[in-house]
Amino acid sequence: MTVLLAATAAGLFGIGTYLVLQRKLSRIIIGIALLSHGANVLMVGSGRRGRAPIVGSGDAESLADPLPQALALTSIVISFGVTALLLALAYRSWLLTSDDEVQDDLEDERIAHRGAPDDDLAGSDELAEIEGDPTGEEVEP
């Protein structure tokens, strides 16, 4: 792993992170794609570089490490599948809302902005009553 590769991966991760923290799903998808690129840079960078690992095209020492390549390839293909799914989600979002904005969870917002819990399970009224604590005024007319 050269400094350049590490820095490139870091840069991709940084930019990807910046994009993932946005509200438009299409930007988020781009961010995730960049993060995946960053991870794959790390992956291929984790093995030796060299000639394409095809037996017979050079001595074994000069070949690039094939394993990280295979792993990166797998991860690339998986990312592709999931990206397709995410795009389907954006498409669905467009069908329903004509946009791909990531909306906040309504229930969370409701809880965050309500004054008090909806239900008084503690039953403050009932409790005062059944505890049998008559006020002084009740005794004397």
Binding site: V20, I28, G38, L42, L89, L96, Q103, D105, E107, D119
Partner: protein, 500 residues
């Protein structure tokens, strides 16, 4: 033996493929799925018996020896998880078939469900870190599809959260794998177990922490859990139930597996784990208390109870790990059961909001019992499964003088009770304070004396009975957990069987 370790992964895959091909007939699809999962359950049980008697069983995929080929391996811990997972998968499938509605009729449901089953099994059985990644991806992709099946607006919203966060975890996973390979030149877990120890301490603990974060996102531990309560409740009930039971547990499994197997004792993030465990328990249960919807309360409780499992791991004693294993088993059963009864409540009452439900102890007494049993188990009341598991945890914490986390565990137990009783009181006792939404599927009481279709009620009953059974048979189960925990802390047999 080869078959026992491999077929639980391969059969669902073949089943999924057949299910795709037989897309024209739901009946055939259901037969495929039911028979596949039944077979998997049988094999899982056989595997557990075998592993418990004779130690870990491993297979090298393709016949290639260990670091070259992928290792599939079952030890007691993975076999236990596989058995429990198979039971859940089968029960929830039956429930899903019994549930009226569009989702279960979707042409893709059965095949995706089988993919999920394969992913879960593969995650439990793999002995290779990269294959673990791929297995989890398989499970997650299936879950992405299941959680958005139906395509309603709130599903799209929560699906975005769920998928994006999961993808971030996946990206970090790949980065972590790259770091692991860069420093050790291998991704085979048994191979890594020998090599990670040679790494400098800083790198070692950085890898340990990164793994914890990666799997912690999936396991929903604090502060990585936020996605869960927002996304689970929007899915169809059976989907939520199987997610609640299995998905986070795969994360927990991975945390326990990697932290015990890969890292030498001196680089285990004990304090970090215990702090996170406590925070997870507490924040999760507070979230549950704040909610006003059955499924959301139950979802937050998942988070809270993940804390217990992490706590057991964080103790890094045989007792603690055994408790964590037992707790995980208990939690899977009880929580899945609760979500199933939550689905029945929704079916019977037309909503899952507390304010819209009420008086069901009279209108649906069977549901009351079906809710109460797993609820009491989750609270930790004897003789249900949760009691022994929770006690084992507290006992282990006390043994190790980890009083802080022990206190949190006890307090959270109480708060769990409060949040569950909130459901009990609102749904079963008090009258509804809000009318049910217009057009809500109010069920025909006369037609459904059980409170729901038979195929929905039956699996719920089975899980409720199971949580009682686990409680009653806790002795042998705890012994098994102890053996599993001992294996985890002293994995020599595991390593031997892989290295040959």
């Amino acid at each position: 033996m080869t078959a026992l370790v491999t077929l639980p992964i391969l059969l669902p895959l073949v089943g999924a493929a057949l299910s795709i091909l037989f897309g024209r007939s739901r009946r055939v699809q259901r037969t495929i799925a039911l028979s596949t999962l039944t077979a998997v359950l049988g094999m899982a049980v056989a595997l557990l018996v075998e592993v418990d008697r004779h130690g870990p069983v491993s297979v090298q995929a393709g016949g290639w020896p260990a670091p070259v080929g992928i290792t599939l391996i079952a030890d007691r811990f993975s076999a236990i998880m596989l058995v429990v997972a198979s039971v859940m998968l089968l029960s929830v499938l039956v429930y899903a078939i019994g549930q009226p509605g569009a989702e279960r009729n979707h042409v893709g449901f059965q095949s995706i469900y089988l993919v999920l089953a394969a992913g879960v099994a593969a995650a439990f059985l793999t002995g290779d870190l990269f294959n673990l990644f791929v297995s989890i991806e398989m499970m997650l992709t299936a879950s992405y599809v299941l959680i958005t099946l139906g395509g309603r607006l709130e599903q799209v919203r929560s699906g975005m959260t769920y998928i994006v966060i999961s993808l971030l975890a996946s990206v970090l996973f790949v980065a972590m794998l790259a770091f692991v390979y860069a420093s050790t030149g291998t991704v085979n877990m048994a191979d890594l177990a020998g090599k990670v120890g040679d790494l400098p301490p800083g790198l070692r603990s950085a890898l340990a922490v990164l793994m914890l974060v990666v799997f912690g996102i999936k396991a929903a531990i604090f502060p990585l859990f936020f996605w869960l309560p927002d996304s689970y409740p929007t899915a169809p009930s059976p989907v939520t139930a199987i997610f609640a039971g299995l998905l986070t547990k795969v994360g927990v499994y991975a945390i326990i597996r990697t932290q015990t197997l890969l890292f030498p004792a001196d680089s285990r993030p004990t304090t970090l784990l215990l702090v996170l465990a406590g925070a997870t328990m507490l924040v999760g249960v507070l979230g549950a208390i704040a909610q006003g919807d059955v499924k959301r309360i139950l979802s937050f409780q998942i988070v809270s109870h993940i804390g217990y499992m992490i706590m057991g791991l964080g103790l890094f004693t045989v007792g603690g790990l055994a408790a964590a294993v037992l707790y995980t088993v208990h939690h899977i059963v009880a929580k899945t059961g609760l979500f199933l009864s939550g689905g029945l409540i929704e079916h019977a009452g037309g909503s899952s909001r507390l304010t819209r439900l009420g008086g069901m102890v009279r209108t649906a007494p069977v549901l009351a019992v079906l809710f109460l049993v797993p609820a009491l188990s989750l609270i930790g009341l004897p003789p249900f499964s949760g009691f022994v598991a929770k006690f084992a945890l507290v006992d282990a914490a006390s043994e190790r003088s980890s009083y802080g986390v022990m206190a949190v565990a006890l307090v959270v137990s109480l708060l769990t009770m409060y949040s569950l009783m909130k459901i009990w009181i609102s749904v079963f006792w008090s009258p509804a304070t809000e009318p049910a939404p217009a057009g809500a599927a109010g069920r025909d009481r006369a037609a459904e004396p059980l409170g729901g279709p038979l195929l929905m009620v039956a699996p719920t009953v089975v899980l409720a009975a199971l949580t009682v059974a686990i409680g009653l048979a806790a002795g042998p189960l705890y012994d098994l957990s102890l053996r599993a925990a001992a294996d985890l802390l002293e994995p020599s047999a595991y390593l031997e069987v892989v290295r040959g």
